[in-house]
């Protein structure tokens, strides 16, 4: 029996698996979480095929294999985030740029491990020396053994080099430099999250908040999303399983983190991470938790202003009516509603609109 690249999701409790290890299934690595479904992956995929070596106690093992098969479900692997799949040949991508001017930037979006062939074409300089030195740089450091001295013969010079981009450290800026002066920068990065919200998201103590991250439609979708909270200088990943206060809702191109029962301690910097095979790109989201007292302050100020205004208006009127009190009560009432017949006539000049005469 052999195991291909299938991820088995097992409902076996940790204890049984531990037993399996002891009995000769040492090749398997596992991530054990208490009482949770345990993903078991054959880690030693470096070999062509993993072959389960039968342990001495055959029958015992067989029984446990059956147990495994009974409660496991076969699931096809997607090339999930962190697992490299060296069994499939790594694709080669070529990028070729002709240098115009002194310096140029070229952005390359990398999703999966690839072999990258970069080619720089330099048309040369007017007052050129016959011999020029060329070399490659990564992130401001010259790559060893890449320096060459070449002879230009009135035609553009091609400089090619192949790079193996497998891990996050391999991303960065690769530059081909001609004569210490002209260079082309190839900026390798996983797709970056475009719209970053700079202002903090505000919410209240006891309330909940929804934080979203979106990857632009034009960019490739990440295989999954993670959320992190900044704790001091570290970023801790948030696992909703551990803390039910957090909920993560993922869709292909966007993700939402919902935090319930907020406290002021929840304020701070959060990161959403778009997971690609090569790396996880992060984008910051700031959260600020305030108490109801904050908006209450301006509200009460406005309320006070309203009350004062109304009081002033009513008091002014009262004092004025007291003044007019001497002239009698009828003058108080404003009879603007009823108009005399004379006013009706000259209201709008020669209006011929039929009006109800009072």
């Amino acid at each position: 029996m052999f195991c291909s690249r299938i991820v088995l999701q097992c409902d076996i409790m940790a204890a049984s698996l531990a037993q399996l290890i002891e009995e000769g299934w040492g090749d398997y690595t596992m991530q054990q979480e208490e009482g949770e479904k345990i993903p078991c992956e054959k880690a030693a995929l470096g070999e062509d095929r993993g072959i389960i070596i039968m342990s001495p106690s055959w029958t015992q093992l067989l029984f446990q294999i059956l147990l495994l098969l009974v409660c496991c479900r076969h699931i096809n692997t997607k090339t999930s985030g962190a697992t490299p799949s060296p069994l499939a040949p790594v694709p080669t991508v070529a990028r070729s740029v002709v240098l115009k001017g002194e310096s140029q930037n070229e952005t390359i979006e990398v999703l999966n491990p690839i072999k990258l062939e970069l080619e720089c074409t330099w048309t040369g300089d007017q007052d050129k020396l016959p011999n020029i030195t060329v070399y490659w740089m990564k992130d401001e450091n010259e790559i060893e053994n890449s320096r060459l001295t070449v002879q230009l013969e009135n035609e553009p010079y091609n400089l090619k080099r192949e790079f193996s981009i497998e891990k996050e450290e391999n991303l960065g800026t690769y530059s081909c430099v001609f004569e210490n002066v002209s260079k082309i920068n190839f900026i390798l990065a996983a797709p970056q999250i475009g719209d970053v919200r700079e202002k903090p998201i505000v919410s209240y103590v006891g309330d909940y908040v929804v934080m979203t991250c979106k990857m632009e439609e034009s960019k490739p979708k990440p295989s999954s999303w993670n959320w992190y909270k900044k704790n001091g200088t570290d970023e801790e990943q948030i696992f909703p399983a551990e803390e039910p206060r957090y909920k993560i809702k993922n869709e292909d191109e966007k993700t939402k983190l919902v935090v319930h029962n907020l406290t002021e301690a929840d304020s701070g910097l959060y990161y959403c991470g778009a997971v690609y095979a090569i790396a996880t790109t992060k984008s910051p989201v700031k959260l600020k938790v305030i108490t109801y007292w904050e908006p209450l302050k301006p509200f009460l100020a406005i309320l006070a202003e309203v009350i004062v205004l109304v009081a002033i208006i009513l008091l002014c009127e009262k004092s004025q009516s007291k003044k007019d009190g001497a002239t009698g009560n009828e003058t108080n009432a404003d009879q603007t509603y009823t108009l005399t017949e004379g006013e009706n006539k000259d209201q709008e000049g020669n209006s011929s609109v039929r009006q109800r005469k009072v």
Partner: protein
Amino acid sequence: SVRRSSDDADGPDGSWGWVLVGALFVSTGLVFGLMRSLGIFFVEFVEYFEESAQTISWISSTGLAAQQFFSPLGTALCNAYNARMVVMAGGCLAGLGLILASQATCVLHLYLTMGLISGLGWGLVFTPMVATVMANFTRHRALALGLAFSGIGISSFAFNPLFQLLVEMYAWRGALLILGGLSLNIVPCGALIRPQRRSKARQKVGWTSRPYATYTLAIVLLNIGYFVPYFHLVAHGRQAGFSEYQAAFVMSAAGATDILGRVVSGWFSDMGHFRLIHLLSFWVALAGVFIMLLPVSSLSGSYAALVLISLLYGFSSGALTSLAFAAVPLIVGVERMMGALGLLQLLESATGLLGAPLSGRSTLGRCTVLCLHYRKSNLHRVSNYVCTVC
């Protein structure tokens, strides 16, 4: 009935009338200017309550419908009691609705508070205040209205950045609370209305009154088409190849000339060279012409033509608004004006519901959906324009 010549400040066209114009300016700004700027909250609601844009847009639709629906109630109460009490109560309700909305835990709460309660408050404020102002003027009626209604445009321009700031500082809950407080400023506006003794005779506007019925029909038809250009302008602008910024700028410019139109037409009409009714017909006809020219100009591909036509349309539509209200007392007489206005608003609300299928769902709802869309795509300036007009 006696008209006192000694008490000029309180008589028609007296200085107290202009104080009331100021009060109307502030209160319509707090009613319609506020309603127009609610778009800023909708993005927050969509995210927080995880509902669709359509569901959220119904909040403002409910508010507007409630304002129009309860208008007759407001005017009836004014006739039965007095305008001051009604407007002050309306201000309290409008504020209360927003304050309660800040505590909402589901969208239904928002419908009931921001929609129904505040809408009821707005209904008790707008029409009574308009009627009161009109009652206080004879010669300068249209100008007074024009000046007061310019408050809507000006305040919605001011409220957009203000609301944005409030939401950034206090999130939507705190912002709504503060808005509730701001709305309470309607109460002192209402307090400025001097208590009046009214003739005890019941004031009923008869449906059978032919001028009124005709006029009502005209206004109803007008309302069907009134908002359509603002909504379609952006949609068609994009089809005609203009960027969203360009299209939204056009709307914003039309909004500015709208304000200008209101004031200018009011002033001009009061000069008395022409009869108000004739001027009203003129502006309506002009607005109609410009509406018809709008698709022509946008299809022609000339941005300058589109801007010009939109400016002219904005001006004429603003111009007709001031006169549309000022015409009511001419048709039904000042005494019945209160009730007539109320009924008119009610009918406008019915039109809104009926006209919805005609222009494809509630134009206000669609407008706010557009507003939301632009906010989501982070086109803040564009969305500010769109949300202002909506």
